[in-house]
Symmetry: C2
Subunit: 134 residues, 2 copies
DNA sequence: CTGACTGCAAACTCTTTGCAAACCA
DNA sequence: TGGTTTGCAAAGAGTTTGCAGTCAG
């Protein structure tokens, strides 16, 4: 039940730590591949999930997009571009007490929340302007 | 480009309207099957997506769960049980101006947001109490 | 030694798509 | 008729899982 130190696990954690923002499993897989070409994608998924269960990294689940992972100390929200599907950070303080405002909890135990904003990123705004095909 | 009135489309819209809460495509497919046994799942998906694009119904996208659909007039939020994965409505007023509080919009155009709370539903709390296997 | 971890491939879930036939206007 | 919609099956994306071999403690 306890962790073993494997090269793969260490590399994956390191890659996520060195990310500026977030990346999906595929991107992390590619980054690790450079140093450890034989790694399997299943191992990347297993390590990412293990690390996020242990709270060492954070998994951002966004519908319709692959899961993203990031190493962070401060919780924050994300926005998904409705056109290109990319995920960006949102510059808004995390509200730790949002669930306190729920009127009738119906016996639910609330453990947290995610907010996913929708919108159009600058790149896609340019494209839409040009192409008028939306 | 304009809609045709098909039996399938009418049945699907009716089923969603008659839902008390939300249901996923699979559940709607099963409901429609009772009256129209030959319907294909692809048709259900196509109609649900069409209806939600036209704003006649609303699609709730939740990471890790199948998309849910509902007929509603008032926007609201949802909570996903971390154990059974079911989706429930949350008793909290929708904040239409949440995106106004974003400090630096980085050129993004925000069009809306979803909040997905996490927690444990009453049923699963009972189970956890009993089984202690979480 | 022994259980945890790995690599590989296959399985899985949910959803979309290609295509010919059926259908509505 | 002519463009939509349907049913079917196959494809697709992302992720998980079964299994035998490998490795850390």
């Amino acid at each position: 039940m306890k962790n073993r130190n494997t090269i793969q696990g260490a590399l994956i954690l390191e890659k996520v730590k060195n990310l500026k923002g977030h990346a999906c499993a595929e991107e992390i897989y590619e980054a690790v591949t450079h140093e450890h070409p034989n790694i399997s994608k299943a191992t990347v998924y297993r390590n990412l999930n293990r690390l996020s269960e242990q709270g060492q990294i954070h998994k951002i689940e966004v519908p319709g997009s692959p899961d993203n992972f990031e190493f962070r100390t401060v919780l924050h929200y994300h926005v998904k571009c409705e056109r290109c599907g990319r995920i960006f950070d949102v510059d808004m303080p995390y509200n730790h007490h949002l669930e306190d405002h729920i009127a009738n909890k119906h016996g639910f135990i609330f453990t947290g929340h995610d907010i996913i904003f929708k919108g159009f990123c600058p790149d896609c705004q340019k494209d839409l302007h040009k192409k008028h095909n939306y």
